[in-house]
Each structure stands twice: as structure tokens, then as C-alpha cells.
Symmetry: C2
Amino acid sequence: MIAEIIAAGSEMLTPHRQDTNSLFLTSELNSLGVTVAFKTIVGDNLDHLTGAASVALSRADIVIFSGGLGPTEDDLTREAAASALGLPLIRQPELLTQLAERFAKRSFVMTPNNAKQADILEGAEILPNVNGSAVGQFLATTRPGEPGTRRIVILLPGPPRELKPLFTDECRPRLANILPPSYIAKRVLRMALLPESQVDSRTAPIYKQYPDVETTILAHAGEIQLHFQAAAATLAEAQARVNELAGKIEHEMDEAVFSAQGESLEEVVLLMLGLRHLTLATAESCTGGLLAQRLTAIPGSSRYFLGGAVVYSDALKTTFADVPAELISTQGPVSEPVARSLAEGIRARTKASIGVAITGIAGPTPGAGPDAAKPIGLIYIGLADDRGTQVTELNLMGDRDRIRWWASQHALELIRKSLI
Amino acid sequence: MIAEIIAAGSEMLTPHRQDTNSLFLTSELNSLGVTVAFKTIVGDNLDHLTGAASVALSRADIVIFSGGLGPTEDDLTREAAASALGLPLIRQPELLTQLAERFAKRSFVMTPNNAKQADILEGAEILPNVNGSAVGQFLATTRPGEPGTRRIVILLPGPPRELKPLFTDECRPRLANILPPSYIAKRVLRMALLPESQVDSRTAPIYKQYPDVETTILAHAGEIQLHFQAAAATLAEAQARVNELAGKIEHEMDEAVFSAQGESLEEVVLLMLGLRHLTLATAESCTGGLLAQRLTAIPGSSRYFLGGAVVYSDALKTTFADVPAELISTQGPVSEPVARSLAEGIRARTKASIGVAITGIAGPTPGAGPDAAKPIGLIYIGLADDRGTQVTELNLMGDRDRIRWWASQHALELIRKSLI
């Protein structure tokens, strides 16, 4: 069975808004063993929407519409689906009553245009929507002239907080009843900083031996994810295949794998600090709080992350981390000795087990004074703990945002490796 | 003229990846006076792609394909477009030579599958691609049997760094030559923190008087944007209409408008600090560096933003901002007096003109000790300058990420208002 998702709404045909419901729906459909073969985005235009519905019905077994179920003139999904299916819309008196009650409860007047929200495709089940006024619709039928061929049409409201529970609570059980049982197991391995091509060349010889496990490599923002998915006659069997492959790849990539159960790099670092009863503090120059912000985004981080300083100006490097002013003026703030002094200074000031410092040139403006000849992308990361202080020099590529992000990513990875 | 964008690639039919090229293409097409009526996302399957191409050719005047132009078996856009158009693909010897040179330059062997990148739709112009091996194609023709009806088919490679310059440099001038001239003016007004419904109810009576100006309200992450766009016979006329409406709305919303030329809230705050020769420092507890990170993301921020402290633990509030330990233990770290002391302390320590402090309960875990009875979402923002110190209390809704973001947004808006 293949599915098509039709997202209705002119706002998704502007440069400003994108359909995101389809990502959720795709994940849900995949887990039911259904492949999404087409996604169509179409505006609030009856001809266009009816045309898109006809095309979808001709090429997919399951067609899911999102959006266009509200009360306004622009809400045309019901009409388009009915026209493409050649089915009438039947106004449901009990839905009209519910709508009237909904308005009365909020002391609003129900304007006449709302009545069309009670129009249901002939033969469709009503999917009650506790989060909004537009109900969903579920129609399980067969293709015209092909009595053995399933055709499923689903209408869902566009707001994600209405669409998601309606799919999970109402559509998923109905689809699971209709579709052949599907047992799908998943696993994700996560790695930081490695080039995608290197991960692929090391892992492809392994995952190609598992043609029954679907392997996807995703690279984004200094992280590589390997997604594994397998279907089998039982869940245990599917899980065993996925685990066997993931285990072999973990063995090959070894310490590069920071997470085998889905945790983020920040979570892993905090977890490892917790296991060793250690605390961490940061002193950030070019990343300006990005590293601290990433760590504190994790709930419960306050137990192991004490805080630190954003030492953006030279003076604050002295004020908050006791870096000698002379060291800064002679070596430049972007230098190995300053990174070392910053890491040691912030560790001493905060009494943390580990002090981490980042100083560098994020661009687009070059450094000044003693840093004038240093290239954009030059970063020093200092890490001070009870074994001493190590400074790592990096030469990062890209724009300001990318350089800052990768610097914070390298810092997290250095902390993680120091804790292994 | 209406356009359809077809994004080819199975990865965009997974839950992990989304087509984003279409946002860029839509913006470009809109500025040429062309409306995008359909977007289709389809996988690397010849039948599906050919079907999608046929549907698009039947309902749109301009069809743009992105992706599927590489050398692998999965790259099928050329074949699908040719089949749907009923045109042959002609292998171009000069492109073959260029491909071979490209490989030789990199000391790679050109495998035979690469040759299909030299296949061009009969009658199409070749769009040279300096950033990759796959050239674009531009075919301006007419509908079969309708000699007066324009039909334009464009094939572009999928990677954004190849697609964007190819469209801007090669397709845009060709389309501008073919399409009737279009003069479109745009303007954006940006506001922070206000509810969308309030902005709409105050501005709708104004923008509804300008039916020739397209007004769009976008709300996202504590910011409201009003986008205006108008088309007219000359650019000056279009700009005058947009400016007249934007001016009236700016007058109505007054100081709530932080940006009338598109600058971000961070940029506006830094610009205002610069105009007044003032400096800023921050002390962050629950936002953990988010405010500093947002300010330092702006190039040149180091002239007005000195840095500050991430005072996540209670002890660091004393270490870095001289908040009396007794004040914290009696009032709780999330309290009006601690926010006041933090703002004053960070200002004194850093010698900044303005000190800003954020302390609060971001959740999901509640506060402890003297903060135990305080609700999640309670935030205090202190702002200390040469006129004294003000503390603002907020009760924010949502999850940890939302509370932290909105707290940083409120802090920026408080700084901006203090500088007006």
C-alpha cells in the first residue's frame, strides 16, 4: 500500500510557511508498514484542490488530507474530496448540535458558515476532535470497479495540535485493523564531527550485508546519525536484526559513537558527569554563551553544570577568569596560552571539576591587534581538569553561525572524550 | 501564469528531511509575478516521477524540477521529464568533454554512469553549473496544439548551493525576458511579544483599506511579522502603496514596532546601544547563556556587548555578581531581590552601562528550598542602568524551551524599550 499526503492551504505556497504535518504523518505511516510515495501541497482553490485529490486517488491507496476543514470560504477540502470521489456530503444534525453547544459554551454566536463543518462524506466515520471545531473523517472503501482493492481516504484538520492526536487516537487503530500486521523495529546511532563520507565508507561494507534492514545516514550540524529500520514477522525478530547490525557498526565506529539509544551529545556529556560525580564550568569568548545555552537546555543540567562566564571583551577574560592582561595583549585573545589560562581560570573561580574555554575568530570581521594575521575560523578550546590542561586548535570553515556551532560541538566532544 | 515545483528525492518522503528549495524558488517566482499553485514531492521512482511530471505539465504553465540530476541510478528527473513531454534526450558531446575534464582535474576516474549527465531535453538550453557536475536545463516552448500558450520547463540540481545561483543567474533573466514585466515592492514590520490576535484586530481596519497590497501576518517564537507586497505598473508606484500602508500601521502600533526595515530584535538592540555609546552585560540563570548567545550571534556585537556570566548555580551568583548568599537562601534564587542584585552586580563587575539579569523556573522540575512553592514559568528580569534598577515579573507558559526563549525575548524587548 502506498500513501499520498495532500496539504491544503495557500500559506504553504508562500516563501514563509512550510507543511510540517507530513513529517509526523510519514513517521506514523512508516511504522504501520505504509510508504509515502507522494506529497502534494495545494492552495485554497476548489479547482486545484479537486484536481489534486483526483490525481492522488488515481495513484495512491491511502490519501490523507491535512487542512482546509475550517468554517471559512477558503476551507474547501470536504468539497474537493467529495467531488473527486463522486460522493455526496451529508450534513449531520448531531454534529450541528455539538457545534452550536461549542459556541454557546464560549458565549460566541455561531455564524451560518460554521454549518459546513457538519458535512461528512457519505460512508465516512466521524473522528471527534477535542482540540478544535473541525472533526476528522475516515472513509474505508474500495476502488470503483475493483471490489478487492482497498482505498482509504482520511480528512484531518491542519493545526498540528489537532491533527496529531486525531491521527494517533483515531486513525492509527483503524489503519492497524485494516492493514496487514507490521512489526517494525528502529535504532539510531549518533556520532559527532566525523565526515559523512568517512562514516559511509567504514559502515557500508557492514550494512550492505543486511539488505533487510533499511539504513539511512543523516548528516546535520556536526552530527552524523545512522538510522536502522527492519520489518519482520515478529517484533522480537525485527529488533534482533536491527540490534545485530547496530552492534556491528558500534564495534566498527567504537568511541566515535556517542549515543546508541538516541540521547543527544549534551545529554551524554551531562550523564557522564553525573556518573563520575563531576561538575563543569565554561568560559566562552567567540561562542558567546552557546555552549552554556546548549547544556542548560537539558532539564536537570544544574546538578553537573555550574555555569560560567561569557568573556566576550578582553577585560572580562581577566575579571571573570583571571587571565593576565599582559598575556592577552602579547599573544592575542585567540591563542593557545589564553585558551589554557581561561580554562584554568574558570575552573579555579567556579571550583568546578572541569573548566572548558573557547576562544576564536568566528568572523566575518577578522581579528585585531595581535590576532590581525590569524584566519577566520581559528579556534582554541582549552580543557582543564585534575590531570592538567589540554588545548586543541581547530580551523573551521563556513560562516559565523557555522563556526560558532561547530566550536561548541567540538567542545562537547572533547569533554565527552575526556570522560571516557 | 501559474507554476508547479516538483522536488524529486526519496529522502524527502522520510520523516527526517524536508524540501526547502521550494521556499527559495517561490520567493523568486513571486517577485517575477508568478504564483506557485502546486508543490509535489516525489521519490526516486521512474513511474512516480513521470506521472508527477505529466500531472504538472497538464495543470501549470511553468514546471520546475529540483533534484534527480546526478549520475546514479536513482537520478531520474531527465528521463521522467523527457517521457512526460514526449521529447528525446540528446547526449551532448561538449558536456561529456567538460565532465571528463572535471574528473581529470580531481584525479578521479569518470565512471560510465556519469555520461547521462550530458543528456539534454531536445530544444532545451544548457544552464552551466559552476558548483557541481549536473547542469541545469531551460526549455521554453508552447503547449502541444496551442501555439500561443507558453510552457516553460526548468530542471535544476537539488543541492541548494547549486540550485540557488543557477536560478538567480540563469533562469531569472530568461524568465524576466519571457514574462510580462512585473514590479513588486515589499516591506516587513516586526514586533515582539504581542498576541497575534491583538495585532490583527488593531491593523486589519487599516490594511483592509488597501486591497491591492497583500498583507500577511506571521507569528513565531515571540515575534509578529507583518509582510506587505504590492504589484503596480512601476516599481515606484508599488513601493509608494506599500510604504503608505506600512506607515499607517507603524503609526498605529507605534513603539511596539521594533523594526521597519527587516532588522532582528538583537540587531536593533545592538544598533541602539551603538547610537548611544552604551555597553551591555548579562547575568543569566534559567536561560543559561541564551541571551548572550543571541546577542553574540550578530557580527560586530563585541563593540557594545561585553559579555557576562552564566550563574546557573547559586554559588556563582555570588562569585560573579556579588549577590549576597543570605539573600539567595532567604528569598530564593528566583525572586525580585535576587534579580535586582544580579543586574546591579553584573553591571558593577563588568563596568557596563547596562546590566541585565534573568532568573526563573524553566521547568520541567519545580524550584527547590525557598522556590519550592513558586510556579514553573515564573521569571524575573532585572535591568540596571544609571537611572536605577527595574525588575519585571513574568509568568510564561509552555515547555522548557519555550519559557527560556520567551524570557530572552522579553529581556531584549526590555532593553530596547529602556533605550527609546
